[in-house]
């Protein structure tokens, strides 16, 4: 077992922001790990395992610190929303496997550009929504949320990514309190990541070797971030998150565009 300091620090930083803003762990961390010379089979399974455990940890402490409340008996709204979004996320994984199996490929650059522009647009809309609050830009609407969940799943399924930003911003557009929206995303991502792990185990049965050298470092950084982030979400006032989340979504979208065309 090897602990790599730079990976621990990066995982801590991006998992903290991911838990607080509902997005960015996969989108921002994966390209940096590629730059450090790691391969997709070293990065993706380790991120999925780490995300599953840290997502569950984050969910427990978001509930504990009252950022959101979950209930399974009976199912409350927060739990229902997390499960609906997880359903679309899991469906996306199966769609991507199906497309891969039949070697159906969409133009990668076009899809990633479309998702990046969508995330930038959602970031700008989210920011304007806060600024134009006085004219009641949007009201609570569960149908809007289901549409955004399906859109996020579709984007992920065809290989465009951007699942976190779309479901986080989608919840906010649907009228969910910002602190609670990011907490629900952590719960959803832990379920979707778990299904992703199962997929990778199936692949490993097919003879593809998975290397978990990054797991202890990603887990260490991510786990301590998952303990700290729910507490920070509780303490920092929601008006900060109202601005931070759309600005960060805009930054993620912009980073994706730069990565596609410049870096």
């Amino acid at each position: 077992m090897k602990l790599i300091l730079i990976i621990i620090l990066l995982a801590f930083l991006f998992e903290s922001i991911d838990s607080m803003a509902g997005m960015g762990f996969g989108t921002a961390l994966s390209p940096l790990l590629f730059l450090l010379g790691y391969s997709p089979l070293q990065i993706v399974p380790a991120i999925l395992i780490s995300e599953t455990i840290t997502g569950i940890t984050d969910t427990i402490f978001d509930h504990e610190f009252k950022n959101v409340r979950y209930s399974f008996h009976p199912l409350n709204d927060a739990t229902k929303i997390a499960l609906i979004m997880a359903f679309f996320g899991c469906l996306a994984i199966f769609v991507s496997i199906f497309l891969g199996y039949y070697a159906i490929k969409f133009p990668n650059l076009l899809i990633k550009t479309y998702v990046a522009i969508l995330v930038i647009f959602m970031g700008i809309s989210g920011f304007l929504r806060v600024k134009l609050r006085k004219i009641e830009f949007s009201k609570s609407n569960p149908k809007v949320l289901i549409c955004f969940s399906a859109l996020a799943g579709f984007n992920k399924g065809i290989g465009g990514g951007g699942y976190g930003p779309v479901i986080t911003m989608g919840q906010i557009f649907s009228g969910i309190y910002e602190k609670s929206a990011t907490a629900i995303v952590s719960f959803t991502e832990s379920i979707v990541s778990f299904v992703g792990i199962l997929t990778f185990f199936l692949i490993s049965y097919a003879g593809i070797a998975i290397d978990l050298v990054l797991l202890p470092s990603l887990f260490t950084g991510g786990f301590f971030a998952a303990l700290l982030a729910p507490y920070l979400v509780r303490v920092i006032p929601n008006k900060i998150w109202k601005y931070f989340i759309p600005i960060y979504a805009f930054g993620i979208g912009l980073f994706s565009i730069l990565q596609l065309f410049i870096l």
């Binding site: 610190f65 009252k66 229902k80 309190y177 609670s180 050298v213 929601n238």
Partner: protein, 51 residues
């Protein structure tokens, strides 16, 4: 699902309290944090033997 859902009701109520109140950590939270740290230690021992 209702249009005016109650998601985040407690978070909204907490936000209306002063920051000192929000920063207070209850005993049950400290216990859960201790259990989490124990879980982390066990996971690292598991990684040590498996990886």
């Amino acid at each position: 699902m209702p249009i005016d859902w109650e998601i985040g009701k407690e978070a909204r109520e907490l936000d209306e309290m002063p920051i000192i109140e929000r920063a207070k950590v209850e005993k049950s939270s400290i216990l859960k944090l201790s259990i989490a740290l124990l879980f982390y230690t066990l996971m690292m021992i598991l990684f040590y033997f498996l990886l």
